[in-house]
Amino acid sequence: MSESIDWRRALVIVAFAIAAIVAPQVLGVSDVNLLSEIIYLSTAALALALITGFNGQISLGHGAFVGMGAYITMILTVDYNVSYVAAGLISLGAAFVVGLIIGLPALRITGVYLALVTLALATLFPQIVNRLGDITGGSVGRRLVPREGYGDWDRLQEVGRRRFLSTEGFRAPDWTGLANDQWRYYVFLAIAVVVFVLVRNLTRSRVGRGLVAIRDNETAAEVAGVPIAKYKVLTFGISAAIASVAGWMFAVLNNDVSPTSFTIVLSITLLVAAVLGGANSIIGPIIGAVVIIGLREAVPAGSQQYTNVIFGIALIVLILAAPGGVVGIYRKNQFKRKQRQAVRAAEEFKAALEAQEATVAE
Protein backbone atom coordinates (compact mmCIF):
# COMPACT_ATOMS: atom_id res chain seq x y z
CA MET A 1 0.00 0.00 0.00
CA SER A 2 2.68 2.46 1.01
CA GLU A 3 4.83 1.27 -1.88
CA SER A 4 2.44 2.42 -4.59
CA ILE A 5 3.02 5.83 -6.16
CA ASP A 6 1.00 8.70 -4.76
CA TRP A 7 0.25 10.61 -7.97
CA ARG A 8 -1.06 13.74 -6.34
CA ARG A 9 2.06 13.98 -4.25
CA ALA A 10 4.30 13.32 -7.24
CA LEU A 11 2.53 16.06 -9.18
CA VAL A 12 3.07 18.58 -6.37
CA ILE A 13 6.75 17.69 -6.17
CA VAL A 14 7.25 18.03 -9.94
CA ALA A 15 5.43 21.37 -9.94
CA PHE A 16 7.64 22.65 -7.12
CA ALA A 17 10.77 21.39 -8.86
CA ILE A 18 9.87 23.19 -12.08
CA ALA A 19 9.02 26.39 -10.20
CA ALA A 20 12.30 26.21 -8.27
CA ILE A 21 14.31 25.80 -11.48
CA VAL A 22 12.47 28.46 -13.48
CA ALA A 23 12.15 31.06 -10.71
CA PRO A 24 15.57 32.74 -11.05
CA GLN A 25 15.00 33.14 -14.79
CA VAL A 26 11.90 35.24 -14.30
CA LEU A 27 12.63 37.02 -11.02
CA GLY A 28 14.79 40.07 -10.35
CA VAL A 29 18.06 39.98 -8.42
CA SER A 30 16.58 40.92 -5.04
CA ASP A 31 13.87 38.27 -5.31
CA VAL A 32 16.38 35.62 -6.33
CA ASN A 33 18.47 36.55 -3.31
CA LEU A 34 15.35 36.31 -1.16
CA LEU A 35 14.83 32.76 -2.42
CA SER A 36 18.48 31.99 -1.66
CA GLU A 37 17.90 33.29 1.85
CA ILE A 38 14.87 31.02 2.23
CA ILE A 39 17.05 28.06 1.22
CA TYR A 40 19.65 29.12 3.77
CA LEU A 41 17.09 29.43 6.56
CA SER A 42 15.36 26.17 5.60
CA THR A 43 18.66 24.32 5.82
CA ALA A 44 19.49 25.84 9.21
CA ALA A 45 15.98 25.04 10.49
CA LEU A 46 16.33 21.48 9.20
CA ALA A 47 19.38 21.05 11.43
CA LEU A 48 17.20 22.01 14.37
CA ALA A 49 14.27 19.86 13.24
CA LEU A 50 16.58 16.85 13.24
CA ILE A 51 18.01 17.34 16.71
CA THR A 52 14.94 18.80 18.46
CA GLY A 53 12.01 17.61 16.36
CA PHE A 54 13.08 14.05 15.67
CA ASN A 55 15.46 13.34 18.53
CA GLY A 56 13.93 15.53 21.27
CA GLN A 57 17.15 17.31 22.26
CA ILE A 58 16.15 20.96 22.59
CA SER A 59 18.85 23.25 21.25
CA LEU A 60 18.75 27.02 21.63
CA GLY A 61 22.33 27.27 20.45
CA HIS A 62 22.30 26.30 16.82
CA GLY A 63 22.94 29.88 15.75
CA ALA A 64 26.48 29.28 17.00
CA PHE A 65 26.98 26.37 14.60
CA VAL A 66 25.64 28.47 11.73
CA GLY A 67 28.05 31.22 12.76
CA MET A 68 30.90 28.74 12.93
CA GLY A 69 30.24 27.66 9.36
CA ALA A 70 30.10 31.27 8.18
CA TYR A 71 33.29 32.35 9.96
CA ILE A 72 35.32 29.32 8.95
CA THR A 73 34.23 29.83 5.35
CA MET A 74 35.07 33.51 5.44
CA ILE A 75 38.46 33.11 7.08
CA LEU A 76 39.55 30.17 4.91
CA THR A 77 38.53 31.71 1.60
CA VAL A 78 39.82 35.20 2.34
CA ASP A 79 42.95 34.58 4.38
CA TYR A 80 44.04 31.19 3.17
CA ASN A 81 42.89 31.14 -0.44
CA VAL A 82 40.93 27.99 0.14
CA SER A 83 38.23 27.33 -2.45
CA TYR A 84 34.59 27.72 -1.49
CA VAL A 85 34.04 23.99 -1.88
CA ALA A 86 36.95 23.06 0.38
CA ALA A 87 36.03 25.75 2.90
CA GLY A 88 32.50 24.34 3.07
CA LEU A 89 33.75 20.82 3.61
CA ILE A 90 36.26 21.88 6.26
CA SER A 91 33.65 23.88 8.19
CA LEU A 92 31.27 20.94 7.93
CA GLY A 93 33.88 18.62 9.44
CA ALA A 94 34.79 21.09 12.15
CA ALA A 95 31.15 21.67 13.12
CA PHE A 96 30.56 17.92 13.20
CA VAL A 97 33.41 17.44 15.66
CA VAL A 98 32.35 20.41 17.82
CA GLY A 99 28.78 19.08 17.70
CA LEU A 100 29.96 15.70 18.99
CA ILE A 101 31.92 17.39 21.78
CA ILE A 102 28.91 19.45 22.85
CA GLY A 103 26.63 16.44 22.40
CA LEU A 104 28.56 14.49 25.05
CA PRO A 105 27.66 16.60 28.08
CA ALA A 106 24.18 16.95 26.55
CA LEU A 107 23.71 13.27 27.37
CA ARG A 108 23.54 14.08 31.05
CA ILE A 109 21.08 16.93 30.73
CA THR A 110 17.69 16.93 29.10
CA GLY A 111 14.67 19.10 28.43
CA VAL A 112 14.70 22.63 29.75
CA TYR A 113 18.19 22.24 31.22
CA LEU A 114 19.60 21.35 27.83
CA ALA A 115 17.79 24.38 26.40
CA LEU A 116 19.51 26.58 28.97
CA VAL A 117 22.97 25.12 28.39
CA THR A 118 22.68 25.50 24.62
CA LEU A 119 21.37 29.01 25.20
CA ALA A 120 24.70 29.74 26.87
CA LEU A 121 26.43 28.49 23.74
CA ALA A 122 24.42 30.95 21.65
CA THR A 123 25.27 33.90 23.89
CA LEU A 124 28.91 32.89 24.15
CA PHE A 125 29.51 32.72 20.41
CA PRO A 126 29.51 36.47 19.61
CA GLN A 127 31.79 37.03 22.58
CA ILE A 128 34.27 34.46 21.33
CA VAL A 129 34.19 36.17 17.93
CA ASN A 130 34.95 39.52 19.55
CA ARG A 131 37.77 37.99 21.57
CA LEU A 132 39.37 36.65 18.39
CA GLY A 133 39.14 40.06 16.70
CA ASP A 134 42.44 39.66 14.84
CA ILE A 135 41.09 36.96 12.57
CA THR A 136 37.34 37.49 12.84
CA GLY A 137 37.26 41.25 12.46
CA GLY A 138 35.77 41.67 15.92
CA SER A 139 32.41 43.31 16.40
CA VAL A 140 32.50 44.95 12.96
CA GLY A 141 32.96 41.70 11.13
CA ARG A 142 34.63 41.18 7.79
CA ARG A 143 33.71 41.02 4.16
CA LEU A 144 34.25 37.97 2.02
CA VAL A 145 36.60 39.65 -0.39
CA PRO A 146 40.38 39.67 -0.48
CA ARG A 147 41.41 42.78 1.39
CA GLU A 148 44.23 45.01 0.38
CA GLY A 149 47.19 44.60 2.62
CA TYR A 150 46.39 40.94 3.08
CA GLY A 151 49.17 39.29 1.16
CA ASP A 152 49.71 39.98 -2.50
CA TRP A 153 46.59 41.76 -3.75
CA ASP A 154 47.14 41.00 -7.43
CA ARG A 155 47.79 37.36 -6.78
CA LEU A 156 44.73 37.13 -4.57
CA GLN A 157 42.60 38.65 -7.27
CA GLU A 158 43.94 36.12 -9.75
CA VAL A 159 43.46 33.14 -7.42
CA GLY A 160 40.10 34.49 -6.37
CA ARG A 161 38.86 34.60 -9.93
CA ARG A 162 39.85 31.04 -10.46
CA ARG A 163 38.07 29.99 -7.30
CA PHE A 164 34.89 31.93 -7.92
CA LEU A 165 36.07 34.53 -5.46
CA SER A 166 35.93 38.09 -6.63
CA THR A 167 35.02 41.49 -5.38
CA GLU A 168 31.44 40.39 -5.97
CA GLY A 169 31.97 37.34 -3.80
CA PHE A 170 30.62 34.06 -5.11
CA ARG A 171 30.98 34.44 -8.83
CA ALA A 172 29.30 32.43 -11.60
CA PRO A 173 31.77 30.56 -13.83
CA ASP A 174 31.70 31.78 -17.40
CA TRP A 175 30.51 28.50 -18.92
CA THR A 176 27.18 28.74 -17.10
CA GLY A 177 26.16 32.00 -18.71
CA LEU A 178 24.37 32.80 -15.45
CA ALA A 179 24.39 35.97 -13.42
CA ASN A 180 26.09 35.67 -10.03
CA ASP A 181 22.83 35.69 -8.07
CA GLN A 182 21.33 32.99 -10.30
CA TRP A 183 24.38 30.79 -10.05
CA ARG A 184 24.43 31.16 -6.27
CA TYR A 185 20.75 30.26 -6.07
CA TYR A 186 21.23 27.09 -8.11
CA VAL A 187 24.24 26.04 -6.04
CA PHE A 188 22.25 26.58 -2.82
CA LEU A 189 19.31 24.67 -4.26
CA ALA A 190 21.48 21.71 -5.24
CA ILE A 191 23.16 21.58 -1.83
CA ALA A 192 19.83 21.88 -0.02
CA VAL A 193 18.29 19.10 -2.09
CA VAL A 194 21.17 16.81 -1.18
CA VAL A 195 20.98 17.72 2.53
CA PHE A 196 17.20 17.34 2.68
CA VAL A 197 17.29 13.98 0.88
CA LEU A 198 19.98 12.71 3.25
CA VAL A 199 18.00 13.76 6.32
CA ARG A 200 14.82 12.30 4.86
CA ASN A 201 16.62 9.00 4.29
CA LEU A 202 17.86 9.07 7.85
CA THR A 203 14.48 9.77 9.42
CA ARG A 204 12.84 6.98 7.45
CA SER A 205 15.40 4.38 8.39
CA ARG A 206 16.02 2.05 11.28
CA VAL A 207 18.16 4.79 12.80
CA GLY A 208 15.40 7.39 12.32
CA ARG A 209 12.88 5.23 14.16
CA GLY A 210 15.45 4.84 16.92
CA LEU A 211 15.81 8.63 17.16
CA VAL A 212 12.05 9.12 17.54
CA ALA A 213 11.87 6.26 20.04
CA ILE A 214 14.55 7.99 22.12
CA ARG A 215 12.52 11.20 21.99
CA ASP A 216 9.20 9.64 23.00
CA ASN A 217 10.18 6.75 25.23
CA GLU A 218 13.80 6.26 26.16
CA THR A 219 13.06 3.06 28.08
CA ALA A 220 11.32 1.47 25.11
CA ALA A 221 14.18 2.50 22.84
CA GLU A 222 16.82 1.10 25.18
CA VAL A 223 15.01 -2.20 25.69
CA ALA A 224 14.67 -2.56 21.91
CA GLY A 225 18.46 -2.27 21.67
CA VAL A 226 18.88 1.35 20.57
CA PRO A 227 22.21 2.68 21.89
CA ILE A 228 20.90 5.95 23.30
CA ALA A 229 24.17 7.75 23.99
CA LYS A 230 25.71 6.97 20.61
CA TYR A 231 22.58 7.99 18.72
CA LYS A 232 22.16 11.26 20.61
CA VAL A 233 25.79 12.33 20.22
CA LEU A 234 25.96 11.43 16.53
CA THR A 235 22.70 13.29 15.89
CA PHE A 236 24.14 16.35 17.61
CA GLY A 237 27.20 16.16 15.36
CA ILE A 238 25.19 15.71 12.16
CA SER A 239 22.83 18.51 13.11
CA ALA A 240 25.74 20.85 13.82
CA ALA A 241 27.30 19.92 10.48
CA ILE A 242 24.06 20.77 8.65
CA ALA A 243 23.89 24.09 10.52
CA SER A 244 27.42 24.84 9.35
CA VAL A 245 26.39 24.19 5.75
CA ALA A 246 23.72 26.83 6.28
CA GLY A 247 26.47 29.06 7.71
CA TRP A 248 28.48 28.55 4.52
CA MET A 249 25.41 29.68 2.58
CA PHE A 250 25.09 32.72 4.81
CA ALA A 251 28.68 33.79 4.16
CA VAL A 252 28.38 33.21 0.43
CA LEU A 253 25.05 35.03 0.24
CA ASN A 254 25.88 38.08 2.33
CA ASN A 255 29.60 38.46 1.57
CA ASP A 256 29.74 39.83 5.04
CA VAL A 257 30.15 38.02 8.33
CA SER A 258 29.73 39.79 11.63
CA PRO A 259 28.79 38.65 15.15
CA THR A 260 25.45 40.48 15.19
CA SER A 261 24.18 37.94 12.64
CA PHE A 262 24.74 35.01 14.98
CA THR A 263 23.27 36.06 18.28
CA ILE A 264 20.61 34.33 20.32
CA VAL A 265 18.08 35.93 17.98
CA LEU A 266 19.20 33.63 15.16
CA SER A 267 18.99 30.57 17.42
CA ILE A 268 15.46 31.46 18.43
CA THR A 269 14.48 32.25 14.84
CA LEU A 270 15.67 28.78 13.84
CA LEU A 271 13.61 27.19 16.60
CA VAL A 272 10.56 29.19 15.50
CA ALA A 273 11.11 28.16 11.88
CA ALA A 274 11.38 24.50 12.85
CA VAL A 275 8.44 24.49 15.27
CA LEU A 276 6.21 26.65 13.08
CA GLY A 277 6.35 24.30 10.13
CA GLY A 278 6.46 21.18 12.24
CA ALA A 279 9.74 20.13 13.77
CA ASN A 280 8.90 16.47 13.37
CA SER A 281 8.95 16.65 9.58
CA ILE A 282 11.20 17.35 6.63
CA ILE A 283 8.88 19.84 4.90
CA GLY A 284 8.21 21.73 8.14
CA PRO A 285 11.50 23.72 8.16
CA ILE A 286 10.81 24.92 4.62
CA ILE A 287 7.32 26.10 5.54
CA GLY A 288 8.75 27.79 8.63
CA ALA A 289 11.48 29.55 6.66
CA VAL A 290 9.02 30.81 4.05
CA VAL A 291 6.68 32.16 6.73
CA ILE A 292 9.47 33.85 8.68
CA ILE A 293 11.08 35.54 5.71
CA GLY A 294 7.66 36.43 4.28
CA LEU A 295 6.69 37.95 7.62
CA ARG A 296 9.89 39.98 7.75
CA GLU A 297 9.29 41.30 4.25
CA ALA A 298 5.70 42.16 5.12
CA VAL A 299 6.63 44.19 8.19
CA PRO A 300 7.24 47.80 7.13
CA ALA A 301 10.81 49.03 7.34
CA GLY A 302 11.43 50.85 10.61
CA SER A 303 9.37 48.47 12.73
CA GLN A 304 11.70 45.52 12.22
CA GLN A 305 12.53 45.45 15.89
CA TYR A 306 9.03 44.15 16.55
CA THR A 307 9.53 41.02 14.44
CA ASN A 308 11.60 39.41 17.20
CA VAL A 309 8.81 40.06 19.65
CA ILE A 310 6.33 38.58 17.18
CA PHE A 311 8.52 35.49 16.75
CA GLY A 312 8.82 35.07 20.51
CA ILE A 313 5.08 35.26 21.03
CA ALA A 314 4.43 33.05 17.99
CA LEU A 315 6.75 30.42 19.42
CA ILE A 316 4.97 30.30 22.76
CA VAL A 317 1.51 30.22 21.18
CA LEU A 318 2.59 27.50 18.76
CA ILE A 319 4.10 25.25 21.36
CA LEU A 320 0.94 25.53 23.42
CA ALA A 321 -1.63 25.32 20.62
CA ALA A 322 -0.04 23.22 17.89
CA PRO A 323 3.11 21.43 19.02
CA GLY A 324 3.28 19.62 15.68
CA GLY A 325 3.25 22.85 13.66
CA VAL A 326 1.57 23.16 10.28
CA VAL A 327 2.57 19.65 9.26
CA GLY A 328 1.35 18.34 12.62
CA ILE A 329 -2.15 19.71 12.06
CA TYR A 330 -2.27 18.07 8.63
CA ARG A 331 -1.03 14.75 9.98
CA LYS A 332 -3.45 14.77 12.88
CA ASN A 333 -6.36 15.09 10.47
CA GLN A 334 -4.98 12.23 8.39
CA PHE A 335 -4.53 10.10 11.48
CA LYS A 336 -8.05 10.81 12.67
CA ARG A 337 -9.44 9.81 9.30
CA LYS A 338 -7.48 6.56 9.30
CA GLN A 339 -8.51 5.84 12.87
CA ARG A 340 -12.19 6.33 12.01
CA GLN A 341 -11.75 3.98 9.05
CA ALA A 342 -10.12 1.33 11.23
CA VAL A 343 -12.79 1.57 13.92
CA ARG A 344 -15.52 1.32 11.29
CA ALA A 345 -13.84 -1.72 9.73
CA ALA A 346 -13.55 -3.36 13.14
CA GLU A 347 -17.22 -2.70 13.87
CA GLU A 348 -18.30 -4.12 10.52
CA PHE A 349 -16.17 -7.17 11.14
CA LYS A 350 -17.74 -7.65 14.56
CA ALA A 351 -21.25 -7.22 13.17
CA ALA A 352 -20.53 -9.76 10.45
CA LEU A 353 -19.18 -12.16 13.05
CA GLU A 354 -22.26 -11.77 15.23
CA ALA A 355 -24.54 -12.28 12.24
CA GLN A 356 -22.63 -15.45 11.42
CA GLU A 357 -22.89 -16.71 14.99
CA ALA A 358 -26.61 -15.99 14.95
CA THR A 359 -27.11 -18.11 11.82
CA VAL A 360 -25.01 -20.91 13.29
CA ALA A 361 -27.11 -20.84 16.43
CA GLU A 362 -30.34 -21.21 14.48
Partner: protein, 253 residues
Protein backbone atom coordinates in the same frame (compact mmCIF):
# COMPACT_ATOMS: atom_id res chain seq x y z
CA UNK B 1 20.40 -26.66 31.62
CA UNK B 2 18.33 -23.58 32.19
CA UNK B 3 18.13 -20.90 29.51
CA UNK B 4 17.81 -18.18 32.15
CA UNK B 5 19.24 -18.41 35.64
CA UNK B 6 18.40 -15.86 38.29
CA UNK B 7 20.85 -16.38 41.12
CA UNK B 8 20.47 -14.79 44.53
CA UNK B 9 19.39 -11.42 43.15
CA UNK B 10 18.70 -8.58 45.56
CA UNK B 11 17.52 -5.04 44.81
CA UNK B 12 16.91 -2.32 47.39
CA UNK B 13 15.27 1.06 46.92
CA UNK B 14 16.20 3.06 49.98
CA UNK B 15 14.53 1.15 52.79
CA UNK B 16 12.44 -1.08 50.52
CA UNK B 17 13.84 -4.47 49.61
CA UNK B 18 12.18 -5.16 46.26
CA UNK B 19 14.10 -8.38 45.58
CA UNK B 20 15.60 -10.39 48.39
CA UNK B 21 17.94 -13.18 47.31
CA UNK B 22 15.69 -14.39 44.51
CA UNK B 23 16.82 -17.60 42.80
CA UNK B 24 15.13 -19.62 40.08
CA UNK B 25 15.68 -20.88 36.55
CA UNK B 26 13.68 -21.29 33.34
CA UNK B 27 14.30 -24.20 31.01
CA UNK B 28 14.33 -23.61 27.28
CA UNK B 29 10.89 -23.87 25.67
CA UNK B 30 9.02 -23.51 28.96
CA UNK B 31 6.27 -21.11 29.84
CA UNK B 32 7.19 -20.01 33.33
CA UNK B 33 4.72 -17.91 35.31
CA UNK B 34 5.84 -15.52 37.99
CA UNK B 35 3.05 -14.75 40.42
CA UNK B 36 2.71 -12.91 43.69
CA UNK B 37 0.81 -10.02 45.25
CA UNK B 38 1.35 -6.47 44.08
CA UNK B 39 4.67 -5.13 45.25
CA UNK B 40 6.22 -8.61 45.39
CA UNK B 41 9.00 -7.52 43.05
CA UNK B 42 7.95 -9.11 39.75
CA UNK B 43 8.36 -5.98 37.62
CA UNK B 44 11.59 -5.18 39.43
CA UNK B 45 12.96 -8.55 38.29
CA UNK B 46 11.99 -7.72 34.69
CA UNK B 47 13.80 -4.42 35.01
CA UNK B 48 16.90 -6.12 36.40
CA UNK B 49 16.95 -8.53 33.46
CA UNK B 50 16.46 -5.57 31.08
CA UNK B 51 19.31 -3.81 32.92
CA UNK B 52 17.05 -0.84 33.68
CA UNK B 53 17.70 -1.45 37.38
CA UNK B 54 21.02 -2.44 38.91
CA UNK B 55 21.07 -5.46 41.18
CA UNK B 56 22.74 -4.93 44.53
CA UNK B 57 23.70 -8.57 44.65
CA UNK B 58 23.47 -11.73 42.61
CA UNK B 59 23.75 -12.76 39.00
CA UNK B 60 21.51 -13.22 35.98
CA UNK B 61 22.83 -15.66 33.41
CA UNK B 62 21.22 -16.09 29.99
CA UNK B 63 22.46 -18.93 27.82
CA UNK B 64 25.78 -18.90 29.65
CA UNK B 65 26.21 -15.12 29.48
CA UNK B 66 26.27 -12.79 32.46
CA UNK B 67 23.61 -10.18 31.74
CA UNK B 68 24.58 -7.82 34.55
CA UNK B 69 27.82 -6.87 32.82
CA UNK B 70 25.97 -5.63 29.73
CA UNK B 71 24.49 -2.17 28.99
CA UNK B 72 20.67 -2.00 28.70
CA UNK B 73 20.77 -1.75 24.92
CA UNK B 74 22.89 -4.90 24.77
CA UNK B 75 20.16 -7.18 26.08
CA UNK B 76 17.82 -7.24 23.08
CA UNK B 77 20.60 -8.46 20.80
CA UNK B 78 20.95 -11.64 22.85
CA UNK B 79 17.35 -12.52 22.10
CA UNK B 80 15.46 -11.14 25.09
CA UNK B 81 12.31 -9.11 24.45
CA UNK B 82 9.62 -7.87 26.79
CA UNK B 83 6.39 -5.97 27.18
CA UNK B 84 5.65 -3.43 29.88
CA UNK B 85 3.04 -3.50 32.63
CA UNK B 86 2.33 0.17 31.98
CA UNK B 87 2.59 0.50 28.22
CA UNK B 88 5.79 1.89 26.72
CA UNK B 89 4.88 2.62 23.12
CA UNK B 90 6.49 5.28 20.94
CA UNK B 91 3.57 7.65 20.45
CA UNK B 92 5.13 9.60 17.62
CA UNK B 93 5.41 6.52 15.42
CA UNK B 94 2.81 4.46 13.62
CA UNK B 95 1.86 1.00 14.86
CA UNK B 96 4.00 -0.54 12.12
CA UNK B 97 7.02 1.62 12.97
CA UNK B 98 6.65 0.69 16.64
CA UNK B 99 6.87 -2.96 15.68
CA UNK B 100 9.89 -2.16 13.50
CA UNK B 101 11.58 -0.47 16.47
CA UNK B 102 11.18 -3.83 18.18
CA UNK B 103 13.32 -5.35 15.45
CA UNK B 104 16.12 -2.83 16.01
CA UNK B 105 18.58 -5.28 17.53
CA UNK B 106 17.91 -8.01 15.00
CA UNK B 107 18.44 -5.73 11.99
CA UNK B 108 21.41 -3.70 10.77
CA UNK B 109 22.08 -0.30 9.25
CA UNK B 110 23.90 2.55 10.99
CA UNK B 111 23.98 6.30 10.44
CA UNK B 112 26.10 6.32 7.29
CA UNK B 113 24.06 3.68 5.51
CA UNK B 114 20.80 5.26 6.64
CA UNK B 115 21.80 8.75 5.44
CA UNK B 116 22.71 7.43 2.02
CA UNK B 117 19.47 5.49 1.84
CA UNK B 118 20.19 3.22 -1.06
CA UNK B 119 21.95 0.30 0.60
CA UNK B 120 19.19 0.00 3.19
CA UNK B 121 16.15 0.20 0.94
CA UNK B 122 15.92 -3.55 0.35
CA UNK B 123 16.49 -4.36 4.00
CA UNK B 124 13.92 -1.77 4.97
CA UNK B 125 11.32 -3.41 2.73
CA UNK B 126 12.13 -6.78 4.21
CA UNK B 127 11.82 -5.48 7.76
CA UNK B 128 8.50 -3.82 6.90
CA UNK B 129 7.14 -7.04 5.44
CA UNK B 130 8.21 -8.98 8.51
CA UNK B 131 6.70 -6.43 10.87
CA UNK B 132 3.44 -6.62 8.93
CA UNK B 133 3.52 -10.40 9.23
CA UNK B 134 3.91 -10.15 12.98
CA UNK B 135 1.06 -7.64 13.18
CA UNK B 136 -1.14 -9.99 11.16
CA UNK B 137 -0.14 -12.79 13.47
CA UNK B 138 -1.45 -10.96 16.54
CA UNK B 139 -4.55 -9.89 14.63
CA UNK B 140 -3.62 -6.27 14.01
CA UNK B 141 -2.94 -6.33 10.28
CA UNK B 142 -5.36 -3.48 9.64
CA UNK B 143 -3.77 -1.21 12.24
CA UNK B 144 -0.31 -0.88 10.67
CA UNK B 145 -0.60 2.74 9.54
CA UNK B 146 -2.40 4.10 12.61
CA UNK B 147 -0.64 6.15 15.27
CA UNK B 148 0.27 4.12 18.34
CA UNK B 149 -2.04 5.98 20.71
CA UNK B 150 -5.72 6.60 21.21
CA UNK B 151 -6.49 2.94 20.51
CA UNK B 152 -8.27 0.54 22.88
CA UNK B 153 -6.08 -0.65 25.76
CA UNK B 154 -6.17 -4.27 24.65
CA UNK B 155 -5.01 -3.23 21.19
CA UNK B 156 -2.11 -1.21 22.58
CA UNK B 157 -1.06 -4.24 24.65
CA UNK B 158 -1.12 -6.37 21.55
CA UNK B 159 1.02 -3.85 19.67
CA UNK B 160 3.58 -4.26 22.45
CA UNK B 161 3.38 -8.01 22.05
CA UNK B 162 3.97 -7.63 18.30
CA UNK B 163 6.91 -5.32 18.96
CA UNK B 164 8.48 -7.88 21.29
CA UNK B 165 7.94 -10.68 18.76
CA UNK B 166 9.53 -8.61 15.99
CA UNK B 167 12.83 -8.91 17.85
CA UNK B 168 12.81 -12.66 17.08
CA UNK B 169 13.47 -13.33 20.77
CA UNK B 170 14.43 -16.58 22.40
CA UNK B 171 13.12 -15.35 25.74
CA UNK B 172 9.85 -13.40 25.78
CA UNK B 173 8.97 -11.62 29.01
CA UNK B 174 5.35 -10.51 29.42
CA UNK B 175 4.44 -8.21 32.32
CA UNK B 176 0.71 -8.61 33.05
CA UNK B 177 -0.35 -8.97 29.40
CA UNK B 178 -3.95 -9.80 30.36
CA UNK B 179 -4.59 -6.86 32.68
CA UNK B 180 -7.46 -4.72 31.44
CA UNK B 181 -8.61 -7.34 28.93
CA UNK B 182 -12.15 -8.70 28.76
CA UNK B 183 -12.89 -12.30 29.71
CA UNK B 184 -12.95 -13.54 26.13
CA UNK B 185 -9.81 -11.58 25.26
CA UNK B 186 -7.97 -13.30 28.12
CA UNK B 187 -8.88 -16.69 26.67
CA UNK B 188 -7.73 -15.59 23.24
CA UNK B 189 -4.44 -14.32 24.66
CA UNK B 190 -3.79 -17.61 26.48
CA UNK B 191 -4.20 -19.55 23.26
CA UNK B 192 -2.02 -17.07 21.42
CA UNK B 193 0.86 -17.29 23.91
CA UNK B 194 0.87 -21.07 23.70
CA UNK B 195 0.80 -21.15 19.92
CA UNK B 196 3.41 -18.38 19.61
CA UNK B 197 5.69 -20.35 21.91
CA UNK B 198 5.43 -23.40 19.64
CA UNK B 199 5.62 -21.44 16.41
CA UNK B 200 8.65 -19.28 17.29
CA UNK B 201 10.42 -21.70 19.67
CA UNK B 202 10.04 -19.25 22.52
CA UNK B 203 10.76 -19.49 26.18
CA UNK B 204 8.22 -17.37 28.05
CA UNK B 205 8.44 -15.62 31.41
CA UNK B 206 4.92 -14.54 32.27
CA UNK B 207 3.83 -12.24 35.08
CA UNK B 208 0.06 -12.46 35.46
CA UNK B 209 -2.73 -12.22 38.02
CA UNK B 210 -5.36 -14.15 36.04
CA UNK B 211 -5.05 -17.52 37.76
CA UNK B 212 -7.03 -19.45 35.14
CA UNK B 213 -4.60 -18.26 32.53
CA UNK B 214 -1.52 -18.93 34.65
CA UNK B 215 -2.58 -22.42 35.67
CA UNK B 216 -3.82 -23.18 32.17
CA UNK B 217 -0.73 -22.42 30.14
CA UNK B 218 2.32 -22.58 32.43
CA UNK B 219 4.78 -25.43 32.65
CA UNK B 220 6.18 -24.03 35.84
CA UNK B 221 5.07 -21.44 38.37
CA UNK B 222 7.30 -19.35 40.63
CA UNK B 223 5.51 -17.69 43.54
CA UNK B 224 6.96 -14.55 45.10
CA UNK B 225 6.24 -12.56 48.20
CA UNK B 226 8.22 -9.59 49.53
CA UNK B 227 10.96 -10.13 46.98
CA UNK B 228 11.50 -13.76 47.90
CA UNK B 229 10.51 -17.00 46.25
CA UNK B 230 8.04 -18.87 48.43
CA UNK B 231 7.22 -21.73 46.07
CA UNK B 232 8.27 -23.14 42.72
CA UNK B 233 6.74 -26.01 40.75
CA UNK B 234 4.21 -27.20 38.19
CA UNK B 235 0.72 -25.58 38.39
CA UNK B 236 -0.95 -28.59 40.00
CA UNK B 237 1.56 -28.60 42.84
CA UNK B 238 1.36 -24.83 43.34
CA UNK B 239 -2.43 -24.91 43.52
CA UNK B 240 -2.16 -27.33 46.40
CA UNK B 241 0.60 -25.49 48.26
CA UNK B 242 -0.77 -24.24 51.57
CA UNK B 243 1.69 -21.42 51.92
CA UNK B 244 0.81 -20.14 48.47
CA UNK B 245 -2.91 -20.39 49.15
CA UNK B 246 -2.39 -18.47 52.36
CA UNK B 247 -0.23 -15.78 50.86
CA UNK B 248 -1.84 -15.31 47.52
CA UNK B 249 -4.36 -17.63 45.96
CA UNK B 250 -6.79 -17.44 48.85
CA UNK B 251 -6.69 -13.69 49.26
CA UNK B 252 -8.18 -11.17 46.91
CA UNK B 253 -5.67 -10.99 44.01
Amino acid sequence: MALLDVEDVSVRFGGVTALDGLTFGIDEGQICALIGPNGAGKTTLFNVISRLYDADRGAVVFDGRDLLSLPPHGIAGLGIARTFQNLALVQGLSVLDNVMVGAHASTTGGFAASLLGLPVRAREREGRARALEVLERVGLGGYAQLPAFGLPYGTLKRIELARALAARPRLLMLDEPASGLTHSEVGELSDMIRSLRDEFDLTVLLVEHHMNMVMGISDNVVVMEFGQKIADGPPAQIQGDERVIGAYLGGPG
